[in-house]
Symmetry: D2
Subunit: 383 residues, 4 copies
């Protein structure tokens, strides 16, 4: 049985809402049945109509969606609510949804502030509901393989992590015009205290902690607002001290003109390293001190259980961003279905980002901003 899905945000003109819908649809485990696609009721209605929804279940506000769906019979009401609004509109609907008995998929960064994030964590704990945070990049099979390889100890103790996320789409002042993405992501009132660091730096941070299995303990950040007139950082680099004595560098920029979206992570241990980048998402380079670099590939017979579980096609059939995104939705569905059945999902299905990642991500944002504003070299990473 498909899970009944409701969506908050993601109306016409949005980017990530459409991605959520594609990701939810791919594996046939969700059926979108309700939505409050915009705070503008007319836009919400138009979006719902375009999506072929029952007009009775297209709402003018998230409050309305949650209240009315809650009032429907259990067999009919939405089970999962995806929240794909700008950052300042994450917390309130997420809390209300959780407290109203719904499981939640939430876009990143999790909230507007760390305080909200910590409060949301208490809500999750109190309600016992499930929350999936869409840090897409950890959904790639070869990223999962990298994490498993690191965790297996095959590379020895981890010493060094490089993560970078270069984009170029904000190289010009785009926020004055029709570009809705640029407008809200550079607006402190909607995006939060960070620009690039919130939008993509948190992805890089999450990827770093996920693959390395380490935690950031101290950081030293240099953030910049490169484009004149912009109100938030659009570029930055961060030196990191990690648990276990490792160190790292995190780079995120939205003004590397000509770059697309090639997030990359490299993790080195005593015996070798792993190297993954989104532009060649189905390849994991595994480098070794004394023998040839190996090219591990999505779908190959030799990959481990986590990568295999998150792959749909045989080796040589490239899977991409939507499949990675869909892996989050699929694993969340498997987890919920197991819970409904009173079971525990297998570990591969439980391996999706959640509330803990969200809290650390928001802590990253606040710590990185604090460090950037400090004359002191090292700032403790505090949550």
């Amino acid at each position: 049985m498909k899970l009944r899905l409701g969506m908050i945000g993601g109306g016409q003109g949005a980017f990530i809402g459409g991605v959520h819908r594609l990701a939810a649809a791919l594996d046939g485990q969700y059926e979108l049945v309700a939505g409050a696609f915009s705070s503008n009721p007319a836009t919400s209605r138009a979006s719902g109509q375009q999506l072929g929804l029952d007009p009775a279940r297209v709402y003018g506000s998230y409050q309305e969606l949650i209240a009315q769906e809650k009032a429907r019979p259990a067999a009919e009401r939405v089970q999962v609510i995806s929240i794909v609004t700008p950052n300042h509109l994450h917390f309130a609907p997420a809390r209300l949804a959780l407290e109203s008995g719904f499981d939640v998929v939430l876009d990143k960064p999790m909230t507007f502030s760390l305080a909200e994030a910590k409060e949301l964590a208490t809500v999750v704990a109190a309600t016992g509901r499930h929350l999936c945070l869409t840090h897409t990049y950890t959904g790639y099979p070869m990223v999962k393989e990298a994490r498993q390889l690191v965790g297996s100890g095959a590379l020895g103790r981890i010493r060094k992590v490089y993560v970078e996320y270069p984009q170029g789409w904000l190289s010009r002042f785009e926020e004055g015009g029709a570009n809705k993405q640029a407008a809200w992501r550079t607006d402190p009132a909607r995006s939060g205290v960070a620009g690039a660091m919130g939008d993509i730096g948190t992805h890089a941070f999450n990827l770093l902690e996920y693959v390395s299995g380490l935690q950031v303990e101290k950081l030293c950040a240099a953030l910049h607002t490169v484009v004149e007139g912009r109100r938030l950082d659009d570029d930055g680099a961060v030196l990191l001290r990690l648990s276990g004595g490792a160190s790292g560098v995190l780079i995120a920029t939205q003004v590397a003109a000509g770059e697309e979206n090639n997030v990359r992570i490299r993790v080195y241990g005593e015996q070798g390293g792993v190297d993954w980048m989104q532009a060649e998402a189905n390849t994991l380079l595994v480098k070794w001190l004394d023998r040839p670099t190996e090219i591990m590939r999505t779908g190959a017979a030799y990959v481990g259980a986590y990568a295999r579980h998150n792959t749909r096609t045989p080796a040589g059939h490239p899977e991409g961003y939507l499949e990675a995104f869909a892996n989050l939705y699929r694993n969340f569905a498997l987890t919920l279905q197991a819970a409904q059945a009173g079971q525990q999902a297998p570990p591969e299905a439980l391996d999706y980002p959640g509330i803990a990642d969200g809290v650390r991500g928001m802590a990253f944002i606040e710590n990185v901003i604090a460090s950037s504003q400090s004359e002191q070299k090292w700032t403790d990473f505090t949550v």
Copy 2:
């Protein structure tokens, strides 16, 4: 409104049926409501149950599916039937479906023989129904860009085409065991007169004619059965003479041990060439006589209307095999929806492989086998 989809074949253990379902689901334009997933009724039932279908619409044979769905009210019965059986079971269900008023998605190669293909073409013409043939590779946005660029004349007159399709999965004798794919694809009774040339050579052939805009006029083939005990070709190469005075080489093999599925095409004209390979599916290399090679990328602002239409995400978010496959389904849906509305779909939507590609593909199979068996160098490509 979603199109109601029925499926013939694709039960448990199959590969391509699952791919069709993922592709149909991705864009939310189809809803799978019925199926005859196996000629074994129990397997069909189990598959239907796993897919969450109404048991009343899971059938034990394709005849039953077509008859009973036809008997349902128009607002309820399936509109499109996807046929994903082995090659020897394409023609009969396709004909029956078309003659029963259904539009058809058919896996490739289109039929078991050229004679069947030509007969199916008359059925399509007679019934006025639509048929989509899933030559996946022409669904990639950068393949479409390549075709448009060639067609624009920017490269000058086309002189040379190289297409290659190397795989390694049949490097050993796999057909004796549990590998269902290997079993039927190497069985003349189910696959037809060709092995590798039917399975992947037809893809290469279709890609060649699609991108170059040229037609094969003469060919000279050397096919081999490399693995002992195999009953069909598992390897081959073909020299080609193309319309307009161009020439080409087509390579297809399933015994290139260690290769995955990296179909590649290169087309050269007087001024430059295009180079695309599935392993880097979002990149189209455009080479020029006197200036730097350009890297064109899926989702970039500068790509043409066909590539843009077949892309879901911004540049830097890799789309892969399932998205290419889904483009066929999406364009077919757009075409059918336009037809239902008494309109003509836009040219980008009409650009999916159909009956004419299927006839030429089957002609390729028969001509390439004939050439391979001939002592004469050149064989005319006859349909």
Copy 3:
């Protein structure tokens, strides 16, 4: 002690003569002391002066060079003569040099015709002199590693070989103007019966037999003269049957507009394959049926004796075309020095192309032209 080198051909405006000089200089094992750089004495003199040679040893013809150098005291006269003239001027100076007691470095293709090549072989045998034929590509360390890996049996019995040599520099009619290279290489009176097949097809052929360790037994060629007005083939493809039951495809073209010089070879056995291309010359991809592809790299600790012997710098310091070329000169020097000392050079040093490669290369040219002109599919490869 450096070997004293004389050069025939390679005056101002030539390409390959300069390459020979760079290659001979790199490892400090040769000193250029004499030359007949052009059949035009003034050009020869000017070239010699530019190279800083003693004017007394700059000659107006190859006959003069050979005669006068032979007349010099043994401790002073040239020991090795490099012949870098167009093809029609290979045989006569080579024979005279060998018969006059000199060792010879000869550019490829070895002679103007197969008959000349066979005659030269008898001269080599009769005189006992040494001859090095500059099939550059077998000088690359990773090509040597590929040959050793194939020869070791690690890939199992070889089944399939693909070799391709795409260039674009003759995409236009260049031979009418100032381009000396284009002029002689497309002129049957200077180049021989073949154009592209002689110039680059022989390289591809040599690489194929070298890496695979197999011999061509039958071939089926389709050659083309694509550019209007050209007098020799500028494009072609050849189907091959190889010893041991393997098969292959050889592609060579000079009209792939936008291509540089990316000769590539792939060899597949039962267990895996090797893949090398000049554009990434320091990388050898080793592909395996059941485990990750390995990236073997020039200079790495794990490479074998042949690759190591032909490398100058540690891993990560790219060596290129000139180093590969220099490897031929260096190995030839080591062989001559060992011979002078009454010793046998180590096998790694003896591994340079010689007279046997030259005879087979000329046979390739004549067989491929014969096949191309035949209506019969397969032509026996005869020497």
Copy 4:
């Protein structure tokens, strides 16, 4: 006429001395005639013999070499002295050589300390002799193209620079054994205050300032000694503020297990960026905001005068590390020859690293160490 070359250091077991000899030999502009290859006279003699030098010109110390060569007739004595000793033995022989009237090629980092570097600058100024510092990477044609492109303004104002230099060869404690390279490079008494930052960090720094045309103004460094027992840094990352308002990140490590030597630089301006890495040294990626990335290639007809001047072969014939190194020697020779002729060399020939680069490189070392030891975030870059 070849320049007569003497060498200090570079005896048996050394790495970089051999590279200098290959580089000097390649273009035939130098003849090695003298050397003090080791402070151990026996080793020096053996090295000289192996190189075929006149034993009378193989010396037991650099003082002896300089004194005795100076005593020889002008037409015979060395003209250029290459100093390829460990860092602590750069300054004294360089000063003596310059003051004795010789031109000098010096390996990097230029001296043992910044104080020495500045003193050497006064010696160069006072003597009017020439000095070439072998920062190899600026010798690559595509690096020169990158600098020219940036300097042309085509990318707009520069905003961001990333330079990285990952190696893995010191991942283990190597300095205790037979590895002479590891021994001296990790020894403060021979290497100086920095390890990785002196050895490869200075290369990265030089490349950054060369390509971007900007200067480092402030830095914030985090250096590490990762391998237990090591006495100098083997890893580090540096945040940079550059002239003109740009910022940057510099990464250098010798403990990235499995990495070879893939120095890479990326420079972004308002309109696009350049991306070069040594592993694909003949390619320069030029990225643009609104159009396809371009692949510029060594030897192509469209490259500028600086790249062309530093290339020996046509496009598609890879040139590598030795050629880049040789470009420094060749340009230095052209400069000296022009000076001898009372002329100014063309700007392309004058474009080699010299005393000013050396001073800034030593300043980088001392500033980066100071920053690393400071609790303050930003350290002014002082010279």
